[in-house]
């Protein structure tokens, strides 16, 4: 018999104190019954003797200290999973939102998951072709990687993410592919953009959507990405699917976390975010990956908007320390009209080296990639010099580099959101651009490849 407590003694912000409870455990899920008969969810943040401090997942409006009751359910926050989830839309707490029937649970999973044993991981090494040159050619994505997009307000990260979701494939292995999409505090319009894009391409049948929109309760956002990841883990490791998880926007998530932390009067770390933000984000991001001797994988693309375009802000900073690289969008390039405005120099994919080369992409990939990076970096430096000293200050070779970098941005990076380039097309495009430089400058490419591909 589950006890109902009428002993709510405080409600402050997203927190609530329940007194004289018995046998309540840490992290347990609770259900609040309002006088109106409405039910709301909460979870135990701290249990001290007979007092339970709980965190609400929804607004506190309407909670009456005298009339409302709480019961604790004896388990943590769970998600009902089953293969029928595909094609469905859920709210931020995992309840159906599309008017369809409840999911008949194959099993109930705790949304916190369990840490993956590093000895059981399989190192990601299968090349994913996204069709986007700036990613495939220079910051290659592989299956099981977590590669965030660092964006800023007003930049077209949604277009890029949708393009990746639409075009991503592992060549030579079709089929068992699914997308899990979590909207975390974004607007209806942005969420609808993704949904309609999935509908348009028919991908919606292989997609699970979790929607916590801007006007949904902020603290619910703490659960939303974990709901999505629990669904993804089920699809990947129970059903053997290759799952692409898109989480947008992590900044809203971190703010919800800060709200709860502030309400608890915890000692803040940088910019008011809790000291455990790194650990908290890591327990989400690290759920991406592959397991040895097991089908299925989780590839994760979290999207975050950098406050004030500042990469050193705690959210992008801590994310960068956990994820395996980052794709950075730049406002300058956006103003220049680049689509997508990917700033390739500070962007990085840490796992690319294992996913490229002979048998995976093409033998010349690594060399041309290094050469393009180096040449573009030098070209940009030269362009800066031009603005200070004028073109006359540059040597002939430097001028070639300057021209190269401009062409590189225009033709290589700015391909548009509808162009799907194969990896060969991307690599050939790179060679085409490298022709603008004298052959003696191509020091990072092995002679044999220069002979074979430069033409």
């Amino acid at each position: 018999m589950i006890k109902e407590y009428k002993t709510i003694s405080e409600v402050v912000g997203p927190l609530m104190l329940v007194k004289d409870v018995e046998n309540v455990t840490y992290d347990e899920l609770g259900e609040i019954m309002l006088p109106t008969g409405e039910k709301r969810l909460c979870k135990v943040l701290e249990i001290n003797g007979n007092n339970a401090l709980v965190q609400l997942f929804e607004s506190a409006a309407g909670i009456n200290l005298k009339e409302s009751t709480v019961k604790f359910l004896g388990h943590g926050t769970q998600l009902a999973v089953s293969p029928d989830m595909l094609g469905r839309v859920f709210d931020g707490m995992g309840r159906p939102k599309d008017g369809g029937p409840e999911i008949i649970a194959e099993k109930m999973l705790d949304i916190n998951g369990l840490p993956m044993n590093p000895a059981a991981r399989d190192y990601p090494s299968e090349f994913i072709q996204t069709g986007v040159s700036a990613i495939d050619g220079l910051n290659t994505l592989v299956r099981g990687q977590k590669l965030p997009i660092f964006s800023a307000s007003g930049l077209p990260h949604a277009d890029l993410a949708a393009q990746i979701a639409r075009q991503a494939k592992v060549r030579g292995s079709e089929g068992n592919f699914a997308v899990v999409f979590a909207a975390i505090g974004i607007t209806h319009e942005e969420a609808e953009f993704f949904a309609s894009d999935f509908r348009k391409t028919g991908a919606i049948d292989r997609t699970v959507l979790f929607m916590n929109l801007a006007n949904d309760p902020a603290v619910e956002r703490i659960a939303t990405p974990r709901m999505a990841l629990t669904a993804a883990e089920y699809l990947a490791f129970d059903l053997g699917m290759h799952v692409l998880v898109i989480l947008t926007d992590i900044t809203n998530y971190a703010e919800a976390l800060r709200e709860v932390s502030a309400a608890r009067k915890e000692v803040p770390g940088r910019r008011g975010y809790p000291g455990y933000l790194y650990t908290d984000l890591a327990t989400m991001y690290e759920r991406a990956g592959k397991k040895r001797n097991q089908e299925g994988s989780i590839t994760m693309i979290p999207i975050l908007t950098m406050p004030e375009d500042d990469k050193t802000h705690p959210i992008p900073d801590l994310t960068g320390y956990i994820t395996e690289g980052q794709i950075i969008l730049s406002r300058d390039l956006y103003r220049k009209g680049l689509k997508p405005p990917v700033d390739v120099l500070p962007s990085l994919s840490r796992l690319k080296d294992k996913g490229i080369g002979k048998g995976k992409t093409r033998e010349d990939h690594a060399d041309t990639m290094n050469q393009l990076f180096a040449a573009y970096a030098r070209g940009k430096e030269c362009l800066e010099l031009v603005t200070i000293l004028g073109e006359a200050a540059l040597t002939e070779v430097d001028l070639m580099y300057a021209k190269f970098s401009q062409a590189f941005e225009k033709e290589y990076v700015s391909q548009g959101y509808d162009t799907d380039r194969t990896i060969e097309q991307t690599l050939d495009k790179g060679w085409e651009l490298l022709k603008m430089l004298p052959k003696s400058e191509l020091k990072r490419i092995r002679d044999e490849y220069i002979e074979k591909y430069l033409g």
Partner: protein, 592 residues
């Protein structure tokens, strides 16, 4: 044993009452599942416990039992080639027991209780032994011989000692103590992780730890028994530097601690190390490596312990007389774990929420490194070098963890995101990094590499320094305004940067450079400078000089295999001299 009860649960912190019999820092078991925790504070009968596993589902009234012993590691045969979590549970065994995810309350012994090791006695019946004396050996892997030592606090005469195959729990030797009682010795001993293992004497370091990384060995060397820090923003290549050191450092044993970092990085080590061969022994690198992995998604309290677990294992091998290198990636995550526990204990915070004792804890950790004479009659020399990565928020090293670290360490490899953007790796900034061991190691370099090596090093640093100054002028007025001599300086500095300091960790040959090769490559570059300077004085054309073909060969010298180095060096040197003198004489002819 006394049993208490849980009163309060807040994340990894559990407060229990009825614990008056427990000691500070005792290991306790919480709840039915027996979650492992450690007492970190006592008030009356209330103990604050940091729990090394997820505490969801724990509530008031749950039993807490103390083991009466502090957090300890098991030391003995079976350590090498194993990957442990932060509290020394073998991860591979855990996969076998519970599958790919780590569930709670798993109990696996650190050293296998079944496996038999061949014990070969080196001491005899009747020998007088004391703590630290070696009584026998076990060949653990092809390259690592474990030396079984008399544990701390034991002194007496050997009653019996047996050769043969034993498990780590079986008695191999009996010692009669001074009071007449008999003490059974096994191949395994335990040691509390928070206490440094004792030694007879600490010495100053005088030999470099050769790493095969040019920028490190030549410019900013670390001594055997020294301490170094690698701070850098994300994406600047901290982990690659740490991996390179773990791979190529000329240590007998490597202990690699992945502390609050990515799971895939540890997987990478696990998959890559067995494939790579140590250039000195020709054997797989894994056969000298111990891994500690407490990834960022694993419980935060165990992350705090992982650093101590790692260094205790490293000290154990040091005591055997080995040179041990320890890498900790990253100490910032360890400090964050400390901060989280401190916050939950409601301690008054110091800077940025870190506890006030952060600096002293860091100092204690690094001070456990060093070159020592072990206990025992033999007076074995051992060395423990420690290299810690630091992950400063936003790459700004004015934050507390970086600052506290820099006060202690002697070597500072400053990773620079600007270099990383240009794909110059290792992205160690040559103007900001330093090594305080340089002077002390000078003699070793003179005796073992070349008499003029320290001079060449100085010249290299000076050139790079001058390049930075010249570049400021160039930015203002353009390169044409410089004298040819200065432009040559710029060319040579560029060559130092691109052909010498830049090193490709993923290239089969370039990944490791012997000291001989480092010397010869640097010699080539600096000789070009000397000869070039001379040639310009004699009126040679700068444009032709800077575009000599031999320079491209120098640029490719780093990709030449070690066996062919001496030969290629002679050839290139000859070619360069000929080309430059040719240039000078042509110039003279043109003048005529």
């Amino acid at each position: 044993m006394s049993q208490g009860k849980v009163l309060k649960v807040s994340g990894p912190l559990v407060v229990a009452t009825g614990m008056e019999e427990a000691n500070m820092f005792d290991v306790v078991h919480v709840g039915e599942q027996g979650l492992i925790g450690e007492i970190i504070e006592m008030r009356g009968d209330r103990a604050s416990i940091q729990v090394y596993e997820e505490t969801a589902g724990i509530g008031p009234g749950v039993p807490v039992v103390t083991t009466g012993a502090p957090l300890s590691v098991e030391l003995g045969p079976g350590l090498i080639e194993t990957m442990y979590d932060g509290i020394q549970r073998p991860l591979e065994e855990m996969v076998k027991q519970v599958g790919a995810n780590i569930t709670r309350g798993i109990k696996v012994p650190a050293l296998s209780r079944e496996k038999k090791w061949t014990f070969v006695p080196t001491a005899q019946v009747g020998d007088e032994v004391e703590a630290g004396d070696i009584i026998g050996t076990v060949q653990e892997t092809v390259i690592v011989q474990q030396r079984i030592m008399v544990p701390y606090g034991v002194k007496g005469v050997i009653e019996s000692i047996e050769e043969g195959d034993f498990t780590v729990e079986e008695t191999v030797c009996k010692v009669r103590l001074a009071d007449g009682s008999i003490r059974d010795l096994t191949m395994m001993q335990k040691w509390p992780v928070r206490r440094g293992r004792p030694y007879k004497e600490k010495l100053v370091p005088e030999m470099p730890l050769i790493t095969g990384q040019r920028v490190i060995d030549t410019m900013f060397p670390i001594a055997k028994g020294g301490v170094a820090a690698v701070p850098g923003p994300f994406g600047s290549g901290k982990t690659v530097v740490q991996h390179q050191l773990a791979k190529w450092a000329d240590a007998d044993i490597v202990v690699y601690i992945g502390c609050g970092e990515r799971g895939n990085e540890m997987t990478d080590v696990l998959m890559e190390f067995p494939e790579l061969n140590d250039p000195r022994t020709g054997e797989s690198l894994m056969k000298r490596t111990v891994l500690i992995a407490n990834t960022s998604d694993m419980p935060v309290a165990a992350r705090e312990a992982s650093i101590y677990t790692g260094i205790t294992i490293a000290e154990y091998f040091r005591d055997m007389g080995y040179s041990v290198a320890l890498m900790a990636d990253s100490t910032s995550r360890w400090a964050e774990a400390l901060r989280e526990m401190s916050g939950r204990l409601e301690e008054m915070p110091g800077e940025e929420g870190y506890p006030a004792y952060l600096a002293s804890r860091l100092a204690q950790f690094y001070e456990r490194a060093g070159r020592t004479i072990s206990l025992g009659k033999e007076g074995r020399l051992g060395a423990l070098s420690a290299i810690g990565a630091v992950s400063p928020p936003g790459g700004d090293i004015s934050e507390p963890v970086s600052q506290a670290t820099l006060r202690i360490v002697k070597v500072f490899w400053c990773l620079d995101s600007q270099l990383a953007y240009k794909r110059h790796f290792p992205a160690i900034n040559w103007l900001q990094s330093y090594s305080l061991y340089v002077d002390r190691l000078e003699k070793w370099y003179e005796d073992n590499v070349a008499k003029d090596f320290p001079v060449m090093r100085l010249e290299t640093i000076t050139l790079l320094q001058e390049e930075a100054e010249l570049n400021e002028i160039v930015q203002l007025v353009g390169v044409d305004s410089l004298s040819f001599e200065d432009r040559l300086k710029l060319e040579v500095a560029k060559s130092i940067r691109e052909d010498y300091l830049h090193q490709n960790a993923f290239h089969d040959v370039d990944t490791f450079t012997s000291m001989n090769k480092q010397y010869k490559l640097l010699k080539l570059i600096l000789s070009f400078y000397e000869l070039g300077k001379d040639a310009i004085k004699k009126g040679a054309n700068f444009g032709k000089l800077s575009s000599l073909e031999v320079r491209e060969s120098i640029g490719r010298f780093k990709y030449i295999e070690e066996e062919k180095i001496d030969q290629s060096f002679e050839a290139l040197m000859g070619e360069m001299k000929a080309a430059i003198s040719d240039l000078v004489s042509k110039e003279a002819e043109d003048d005529d």
